[in-house]
């Protein structure tokens, strides 16, 4: 019996394809964000409010992942930006192959921003690199303040946390300061923006996207 040292990433194939995607995004100077959260914390709603405010000359495209239904792509298509549904058929995350396949009939040179809405799940999407510049995690105030401690991986890997539904805070016992402190415990450098469907924080969020896009266009974005 003998031992052979392998030292290879388990998700090697995904990693290779993600690196190829990242290179294509870099060449075409497209900002790519990967939005991850539990089901129901407001990913699609945030994107609706985003597209509503988006400068119509910006060339934005959306890929939205779900186990079933085209509902989210239909919701997002209303604002006139191209949106495509990725139906995973039961798989709990998006992987680089799915992104590659669904990008096939879009011309990357025609895009400025690609927004990927991952499957609602705080665990599995964390392991799959999609070639994005930034992972963004959404935590809604109807969840627990301790979520960053319970599901630390995604909070560690995300550059930005959106604390959503803050208009509900007066009706809840949710301690927003504690939630933010917990996120900073697992990831001291994480940026945090508080938003709501009523408009709270959306200007700040749009400015965040604008700044990251400017960095990509200038070619000095640091990729995840």
């Amino acid at each position: 019996m003998s031992q052979i040292v392998v030292e290879k990433k388990v998700l090697n194939e995904n990693q290779k394809l993600a690196a190829e995607l990242r290179e294509r995004f870099r060449q075409h100077k497209i900002l790519v964000v990967n939005i991850i959260s539990s089901p129901g914390s407001g990913k699609t709603t945030l994107l609706e409010r985003t597209l509503e405010r988006m400068d119509k000359t910006k060339r934005v495209a959306l890929l939205t992942g779900d186990l079933q239904t085209e509902n989210d792509a239909k919701r997002l298509a209303k604002w006139g930006f191209p949106a495509k549904q990725i139906i995973t058929g039961g798989t709990c995350h998006l992987d680089a192959k799915m992104i590659d396949k669904h990008l096939a009939d879009w011309k990357l040179e025609d895009l400025d921003i690609l927004i990927i809405e991952n499957v609602g799940n705080l665990v599995c999407p964390t392991s799959y690199d999609l070639g994005e510049h930034h992972k963004i995690v959404i935590l809604s105030v109807t969840e627990g303040e301790d979520k960053p401690l319970k599901y630390p991986s995604i909070f560690v890997k995300s550059d930005l946390m959106i604390l959503s539904k803050v208009d509900l805070l007066p009706y809840l016992n949710f301690d927003a300061e504690l939630a933010k402190q917990n996120a900073r415990t697992v990831h001291p450098g994480i940026e945090i923006i508080e938003t709501s469907n009523k408009g709270d924080g959306l200007e700040q969020w749009m400015a965040w996207l604008e700044a990251k896009l400017a960095a990509v266009k200038a070619g000095d974005a640091v990729s995840a």
Binding site: Q3, V6, C92, V123, G189
Partner: protein, 115 residues
């Protein structure tokens, strides 16, 4: 929840490794390294592994998992430490923004073969 997909990726890579070995070589064990931040539940991984190899040519394969705790390095004083209970500030100098140097692994570390 995605542990089954992870097992499938491991077995795909083992098929490749086997092809590179001399004819008749049998891979008897695979060693995985799973970091605390990898987002992988080790019990689910073991269960997914058992289900995936059952009644396949990999049925005899043993699985060894090394779990890797999160380790941080301080950019200020270069101290390295294990981040227990998510306390990532430097215990020596108090620097808050320390860098993760271990704990994100999801790797095939080794295989054992019978010749």
């Amino acid at each position: 929840m995605h542990e089954l997909s992870i097992v499938a990726s491991v077995l795909e890579q083992l098929d490749e490794i086997k092809k590179q070995q001399p004819e008749g070589t049998r891979i008897s064990k695979v060693g995985l390294r799973v970091g605390e931040l990898a987002g992988v539940d080790v019990d689910c991984l073991r269960f997914g592994f058992e289900c995936s190899v059952k009644e396949t040519p990999w049925e005899h394969l043993l699985l060894e998992i090394e779990q890797v705790p999160r380790r941080q390095r301080c950019p200020g004083c270069n101290a390295e430490f294990q981040a227990e209970n998510w306390a990532t500030a430097c215990p020596k100098c108090g620097e808050a923004a320390t860098i993760t140097i271990a704990g994100e692994e999801l790797q095939i570390a080794f295989v054992e073969v019978d010749e």
